[in-house]
């Protein structure tokens, strides 16, 4: 059996092109992004003392009923500082509740941060030991979860939230969720 010239030269070329395409696609990916297994599942339940009022317990139950954001933050986290003005803007301009999960932070540090930079959160839960963070699969602060009205996790963003992420990822999701609720009504 003799391979024809097209096959003989074409095949290696094809294999090369395929491999190059595969590797090129791999280059464009961010290896730091770990897909969350929580998306599509009910938000992990927690009940923690509120940052501002330790006697008050806040948790997953309080976030139900409306589409909401849960933002994981800490005063020691530099990227959170970068993200903070955008959260302040969201809180001012958008009609969506933002809840905070203050992760492995000292209460006084966290409160100083909120008092100095502004507080975009409805409340912040104080996760001093990071146990709730583990339940939510937190591995790099800041992280932001989008929860629907039924308390299902719809999206997770790792890293600072900004205009681009909001426009390209979260806004389309929010309008999908809103139209879904309209339909269900």
């Amino acid at each position: 059996m003799r391979l024809g010239a097209p096959l003989r030269y074409g095949l290696p070329l094809l294999v090369f092109a395929g491999l190059a395409a595969l590797l090129w696609q791999g280059l464009g990916r961010d290896p730091k992004l770990v897909p969350s297994p929580l998306v599509g599942k009910p938000a992990p339940a927690f009940a923690l003392p509120s940052l501002r009022d330790p006697a008050r317990v806040v948790g997953t139950e309080d976030m139900r009923g409306r589409v909401a954001l849960l933002n994981v933050w800490a005063s020691w986290c530099a990227a959170c500082r970068q993200e903070h003005p955008f959260l302040m803007r969201l809180a001012r301009e958008r009609d969506i509740p933002i809840y905070g999960l203050n992760y492995k932070d000292r209460r006084e540090d966290a409160l100083r941060w909120l008092d100095g930079l502004g507080d975009p959160y409805v409340w912040s839960a104080h996760d001093l030991e990071g146990r709730v963070g583990i339940d939510w699969g937190v591995y790099g602060v800041p992280e932001t979860f989008v929860l629907d009205a039924q308390g299902i996790v719809r999206y997770k963003h790792v890293g600072p939230l900004d205009e681009k992420v909001w426009r390209e990822r979260i806004e389309p999701l929010l309008s999908r969720l809103a139209s879904g609720e309209e339909a269900a009504r």
Binding site: V34, P37, P44, E129, G133
Partner: protein, 165 residues
């Protein structure tokens, strides 16, 4: 270089690649089985923060928290599958250095064998073709041979190479 010195170098070179077990905090377990399970798990599970280290090697705070969590589960008598299930439910398959065999991962597992298989098939084809082909350089055409001789000046016996005139 002397043989003992070479041996020493070899030991150092190999030892350098071992996980630095001394880096993690000591823990005590009620039974040696639990101790073994704990170490097996932290060796096998991947750190989320420094992605090319396992939980045993990593100094990241999250890795320590996860070691605490795993140690607590092991002490509570949880088995291997339960601990792994706990972490996969939170962080996904990413924490596993040994991914499970599933519909979306079979290519990962079978890929290398498929490639070796394809290589063997190609090799067999080439070998068979080579065997089937007529022996190369059969008796040359006598006419062409004669012509070649004349062109090379074959009448001169044992030509001594080129020489400038």
């Amino acid at each position: 270089m002397s043989a003992p010195f070479m041996a020493l170098l070899l030991v150092l070179a190999l030892g350098g690649g071992m996980p630095a077990l001394a880096a993690i905090e000591p823990r005590e377990f009620p039974t040696p089985e639990q101790d073994a399970l704990y170490h097996e798990l932290i060796d096998e599970l991947r750190c989320l923060v420094c992605q090319n280290q396992n939980l045993a090697e990593s100094n990241a705070p999250l890795a320590k928290d996860l070691r605490d969590e795993i140690a607590e589960m092991v002490r509570a008598g949880k088995g291997r599958e339960e601990v792994i299930g706990f972490l996969v439910a939170r962080y996904g398959d990413f924490v596993l250095y040994r991914p499970p065999l599933r519909r979306d991962t079979w290519l990962l597992w079978a890929g290398p064998f498929l490639l070796v298989g394809a290589g063997l098939v190609a090799l067999a084809m080439v070998l068979r073709r080579r065997q089937a082909a007529p022996p190369a350089a059969a008796a040359p055409d006598p006419e062409a041979l004669a012509r070649a001789r004349t062109l090379l000046g074959g009448d001169r016996a044992g030509g001594g190479g080129d020489r400038a005139p």
